[in-house]
Symmetry: C2
Subunit: 684 residues, 2 copies
């Protein structure tokens, strides 16, 4: 399989570069922040707009509710950050939501979280890329005019980068993240200075537009529902907060303390940026509509299909710095970059989660191998395909994609905090030291509050967003859940089937008494001679014969003559094949042997060519492979490949060696490999 | 590979039915005629229209040249049939154009013919299906309004039928072919009767239409060129004539005589039908235009895009029998059926030619195996894809596709007749009996005339059709030629590389002195125990140890404990793997062993699961397969798979058994398997 897909892959992604294993370097806080926080910090680039969008349904007058919504979101942020600080301290080995939920709430809860996270990774890519392209579009209109294409290209490029096994460096993350954070903070400060000190009136490009309210004068339950919807849209600002809690092992010591400090810093920055942008958006009178083509009125007329609604952050920057100015373009570029970086983190996280799930046998076992290139590649390609499909289906519209996003985030928040509550309960039962008990009581209170708040938000999100697209995410989670449970069931069934009996029972079914060895021969050449000499070395008990199928009488005659002339001391048996087949006569012969002496095993030696290029596979070994496939179904048969390396195989060998030296994406954020013993202990 | 593609295939084509091997039944002439002649006879369904189409370029007045063109085509038919009668006598073992050309003119000529034939098979499918749909459309307008879709569906259905391994019976061919031949002859007779005896004036539906001549009043060289083009279009009637000469072994004895008689009968029928249709077309004033939308005038106005130009045979039938009458619909259905049957013959012929080419190592060797389902399947799918692509690209327009068709036919005619001339030259040099020499002289004269005539037609076709589409066919041929020569070069290079030295030279590189056996162990279960017991049986010289890679310290500890508890008498070696990899540590260990004692061989036993469903492959064996792939690159290593059949493998075993009992398409027309000795003799 891997052979056949090798060429197109190599053309596209080139040969993997030799890169030294990372993992021995631990991250200082100033690098850990950008590495883990590009995803949560970047969400302030789209969250404010989503709040205004939803409010606009009730007309621009509804915008005056936005401070309250901002406050609610800030409260939620504080809660979530505080909750995760507890997790970071309790799970210094990396407390991913899946592990916390599994350990404390059981397999089903864990699996639900895992399903939510897998869906979330896909949406992180889709939303971040779509939003990145929209932000890029505020400075480069061309990008947003072809945003589906642009988004697909970015998703593809990220996949290629990760397939190549890019060496991740902290700097790669640090520059755009700090540029973005710095840019936003400078914008907030400069905007405040201009507004308050200089008394400038700054106006967003959309300040003079009117909004046609779909439901003007909304009140009562309908209004509350709208406000809740606006709030749940704003919750997009919280996505990615849990990243640090997964990455504790990558921090310098004291790991938990540094991670908690980084988490707090991230929370403060996110809140400052979010609040700052919201205040500026209000001050500069940014107008956003859910359907700008019809509901945004320019001089009383609908904006029409050609109108592109720029993100809030871009409109605010235009108001503060002036459109086309250097800081405006700088911020647009930094925003787009940090969003793409956020998408990139999903490319790292997806295979890592897959490997943990594989360890628990919910996904194919081979994904478990860390640094297994093929497993990573499959994950990367799958992620890119799913994200690409979503982007395509939703027209790369970040607003539409966000409807799907928030469900999964709050599923994992809720389960993870719930798991923490259980964790503290368990520890409290064993702890006697009053000071420690006090600390635990406080931590439990924080986590309990976090759980309740997250669960409430989850209910609100499901209620207000289900029909707007959240159902897609729910379907995705159910599908993942179903697939993973059936994989686990399969493994359990097989493991039961192959379990070894205790000594003495059923052993005779396993132990044959003699071996009948057969070497398959088509011509006398070096591969055949090698197979013969190996088979002779291995002959200890039983018989050895060479076997050839007569598909061409003249050639068979030549073979027999040469066999005699060379005096090869192994009897040559010829099978007739009137239909010029190879497989069937051999299978029938082997079955005959087995029938004659059912207690003996049969060992079949097949000389095999080792080739260097995928197309050479089409030219060699096909009959051998097919025969082998059929032989494996015959009980009591073992099949030995005796390889003959053709000269061309050298190329493939080099390729394989290079591939083995590949370093997996996301190495930085996972930290060094902890000795398996310790890791296990931390997990259980 | 075959596993992964198994499910979709099974859904689509179901399980192959058990069908008894054919091949023991020989064909009487009355069945051989429809089996081999559906292709050439069906071409009279489209050839007459092509002649009129081209003539219409010079206006309807040019139609009066059509008798001369008909005459030329009849003369060509007589020549070709007479030539192939010689071939049938000279090559009773089946004188396909490829074999005749290769034997007499050398490999390059043979390969050129083979390239032409491979392209022709694709075009047979494309042209026959497109024309069949057009004929169907004369009675069922719906079909021709969606002709691309309809054609693709028919191509797909034919492919599925052949993939299933339909049991071909003579009757299947006989009914539509005789219905078609009978229908056309009844039409010709009834038309003659009505016209001559009853004096009816029969008028085709297009009789009153005018043709806007693209080049009115054409004269001189331009006119001659147009007539030549009309002639070469009409030569489409000759496609498929060579089928009988390929199928001589399928005839009853005396094979050659019966085949020659069938060939003559086919020639007579084809000529009668072709001439009859042309005469009726003239009498009923059928009007055909190359671009009916613009060049066909109805009441002085262009017919427009909505107009469907029905085939000549359908228009004539409407004039003779009346539109919508039973005989009219019967003939339309029979015509469509016989054309689809003609397409079906290509599905048989393509893999058979592939098998012959594979024997000469121009195509992958495994295609050589007759009745090898996979080889056939690949051929069938490839053929369907190529034909489908052509049909799609040319809008299922039989007129456009025919431009590509005739080149290949005449390439093979010319080379085949040329080969026959050489054949007679060679035999004449050795023959002394005057009567025999006389016969040979006559045969050589016929073949020489055939060669010259065919070559002339080939030149005419190339000159008049190259820019109309024939270049596509030429590119196709060149591509096949290039692929086949490079495959042959590859095989020759490899065969040189692996040629065994004569005794005593270089033998020590092949013969190792001892074997170091390694059994890979992950857990103690039945598959592992079986592998261990097999390995112990095979241990004759050298050492044996079990090897496990430590990816999880806790699990490894359990393994070691159980190993000791069970008292397994094979030492267990644990390799450390800090990156949780399996492949690299094993490879490094094996390489280390080889370095220590380079003259020893290493034998690695891998317990392998045999599973029943493709998706189970994703869940098992992946690490083992990858490891195996890498081990094969290491010289001096052999790899033994010790299979463990899971319960689910029973399903796959049954499937494999059924697949083995599948009978290849085209069995009837290839006749019974001749004993390899005889076949070889006939070929050389």
């Amino acid at each position: 399989m891997s052979k056949l897909t090798d060429l197109p892959k190599r053309i596209l992604i080139g040969r993997a570069l030799r890169s030294d294993r990372l993992g021995e370097t631990l991250l200082p806080k100033r690098i850990a922040l950008p590495v883990f926080a590009s995803d949560p910090l970047s969400s302030v680039a789209y969250a404010p707009g989503e709040v205004l969008l939803v409010l606009s349904v009730a007309g621009a007058s509804a915008y005056h509710y936005s401070p309250w919504i901002t406050l609610a979101i800030v409260a939620l942020m504080v809660t979530v950050v505080a909750s995760y600080r507890q997790t970071v301290h309790a799970y210094p080995g990396g407390g991913g939501a899946y592990e916390v939920a599994t350990t404390n709430l059981g397999q089903k809860a864990g699996l639900s979280v895992a399903s939510a996270l897998l869906v979330d990774y896909v949406l992180t890519v889709a939303v971040s890329v779509a939003s990145g392209v929209e932000n890029l579009g505020s400075a480069l209109p061309f990008a947003v005019q072809h945003k589906v294409l642009f988004s697909l290209v970015v998703i593809g490029l990220l996949a290629l980068m990760n397939l190549r096994g890019v060496k991740e460096s902290g700097t790669l993350f640090a520059i755009p993240t700090y540029a973005f954070v710095g840019g936003v903070i400078v914008m907030v400060l400069w905007g405040g200075f201009r507004g308050i000190v200089m008394g400038d009136v700054m106006r967003a490009p959309t300040a003079d537009y009117q909004i046609k309210a779909e439901h003007a004068g909304l009140a009562g339950i309908a209004l509350i529902f709208l406000l809740l919807r606006a709030f749940s849209s704003g919750c997009a600002a919280l996505t990615g907060v849990e990243a640090i809690s997964n990455g504790v092992p990558a921090f310098r010591k004291p790991k938990s303390k540094n991670a908690a400090a980084t988490l707090s810093l991230m929370g403060v920055l996110a809140i400052v940026m979010f609040v700052g942008i919201m205040i500026l958006a209000m001050t500069t009178k940014v107008r956003m509509a859910e359907n700008p083509a019809t509901d945004l009125l320019i001089n009383g007329k609908p904006a029409g299909d050609g109108y592109t609604q720029n993100p809030v952050i871009a409109q605010v920057a235009e108001a503060v710095f002036g459109g086309g100015s250097f800081p405006f373009i700088f911020l647009a570029a930094a925003t787009a970059l940090v969003l793409f970086l956020a998408a990139n983190t999903a490319y790292n996280g997806f295979p890592v989660l897959g490997s943990i799930l594989a360890q628990d046998r919910y996904l194919p076992r081979q994904l478990h191998t860390r640094g297994d290139r093929l497993a990573f590649s499959n994950g990367i390609v799958l992620l890119a395909l799913l994200a690409g499909a979503l982007v395509y289906a939703f027209g790369a519209d970040s607003t539409k994609l966000i409807q799907l996003y928030i469900v999964g985030v709050f599923v994992s928040f809720t389960f993870s905090q719930g798991g923490m509550v259980k964790h503290w309960n368990r520890h409290l039962a064993a702890e006697t030291d009053p000071a420690a008990r006090r600390r635990m009581h406080r931590a439990r209170a924080i986590n309990a509050f976090g759980m309740v708040f997250s669960a409430l938000v989850l209910v609100v999100v499901l209620l207000t967003k289900f029909t707007h697209g959240a159902y897609v995410a729910v379907i995705g989670m159910v599908a993942w859940y179903a697939v993973m449970t059936s994989i686990r069931r399969h493994y359990d069934r097989v493991s039961e089937e192959i379990a070894a009996e205790e000594e003495g029972v059923g052993d005779e079914t396993v132990r044959p008494s003699r071996v009948h060895s057969i070497v398959l021969v088509s011509k006398i050449h070096k591969p055949t001679l090698r197979a013969l000499s190996y088979a002779k070395l291995m002959r200890s008990s039983g018989t050895l014969e060479a076997l050839s199928v007569n598909v061409d009488t003249a050639e068979t005659k030549l073979l027999q003559d040469e066999w005699e002339r060379r005096g090869i001391d192994v009897p040559l048996k010829i099978l007739d094949s009137p239909y010029r087949e190879v497989t069937r006569p051999v299978i029938d012969y082997v079955k005959g042997l087995r029938k004659e002496s059912p207690r003996d095993a049969v060992s079949v030696y097949i000389p095999e060519y080792v080739v260097g290029h995928w197309y050479e596979h089409l030219l060699h070994n096909q009959s051998a492979l097919r025969l082998k496939g059929r032989l494996l179904f015959t009980p009591g048969v073992m099949v030995t490949s005796v390889p003959w390396q053709l000269d061309s195989s050298e190329a493939a060998r080099k390729r394989a060696r290079k591939r083995a030296e590949w370093s997996a994406p996301g190495a930085v954020r996972r930290g060094p490999v902890t000795p398996p013993k310790k890791e296990k202990a931390a997990k259980k």
